[in-house]
Symmetry: C2
Subunit: 179 residues, 2 copies
DNA sequence: CCCACCATGTAACATGTTACATGATTGG
DNA sequence: CCAATCATGTAACATGTTACATGGTGGG
């Protein structure tokens, strides 16, 4: 099962039923900060899952006339989701950061670091606001991923902060916060 | 400029000249741990860069008969690389970890955590071996990205270690090392 | 000499990115 | 009522993944 398929099934379990458009909105709002999915892929995936019998299709006509297609889990879809949840994956994530790539190939660290630092600080603030806003009722999964996000943002901030003032001289190394 | 193009130019600056095959080997060996690139894309990119005048092409016939195509930077290619190095990007990386995705959608943390913990420990060991092996002559860029890799691996290990024993009960939260 | 693996690619298909299209709704 | 935006998609193209092809090379 592809990640997108898993996301579609997982979101539909929560939402009951939804159009691909709504699924995309949900995905952006909830997973968006650690996993992005293009809407084109959501449309393809809902079609494929429906063809495979994991989703039921319903054509809706909203008052006003504009139609849309609404999907919901079938029993088979529920089973597939449960099975997939039990699988464990041993794949590791990649860092895959364009800024890191530039750094690797010899870009001057300081200007990169200034931008990255600001962006990561904004991101961390957003995460922490979300955590603060939570009243303790959010399910454990999302809460844990939020925790992971916060931890890694803090690492990025440490990393780039150390580089904001680093001169681009001949010395390869510097004293760092690295243990 | 696409990341792959930047990688091809950057590697060719180091290597002087290389075939797409060699570029792929180099990319895997050096960047592989934080940025992967499929070989198909390397072949496409070398062709495109050559067509744009950033690379010079030379058809080689190795003793034995098997031919290959060797590329090297043109002056224009060097200029493009220098320009690109000066650009700063404000895009943030995504975590994009399949295990995190499962966690988000309610997978039982413990079994996931066991596998992830082991895998991240191996990865950290590999990074640290590389750092230990370095005699201080490695350029700063690679050394910095290695440092980032190590820091994040440590975060992942903390994260998953806290989850290896977590019961999958009704309590949403637990005491964590999060500060 | 044969099998396995390295070197060197090409091709088919899946996924991701970006642009376009079009009907409703709403703020000015 | 016009422009912007939301809702709802389709399509074109770029990139990534995976399978296949084929010539050399080295070990048993």
């Amino acid at each position: 099962m592809t990640p997108t398929a898993f996301i579609v099934l997982g979101l539909l379990e929560r939402l009951g039923s939804a159009s691909p458009y709504e699924l995309k909105q949900q995905a952006t709002a909830t997973l968006g900060n650690f996993w992005s999915t293009p809407h084109s892929q959501i449309y393809r995936t809902t079609e494929a899952l429906a063809a495979a019998g994991l989703l039921a299709v319903r054509a809706e006509t909203t008052p006003g006339g504009r139609g849309r297609t609404v999907y919901s889990l079938t029993r088979k879809g529920r089973r597939a989701l449960a099975t997939e949840r039990r699988h464990t994956a041993a794949d590791l994530p990649e860092l895959r950061d364009p800024a890191l790539l530039r750094l690797y190939f010899g870009a001057d660290p300081a200007p990169l670091a200034v931008e990255q630092l600001a962006a990561h600080r904004r991101q961390l603030a957003a995460y922490e606001a979300r955590r603060a806003q939570d009243d303790g009722t959010e399910p454990r999964g999302p809460w844990l991923t939020l925790r992971a996000g916060i931890a890694h943002e803090r690492e990025w901030i440490k990393f780039w902060r150390d580089l904001t003032g680093a001169a681009d001289g001949h010395t390869n190394r510097m004293a760092g916060s690295d243990g």
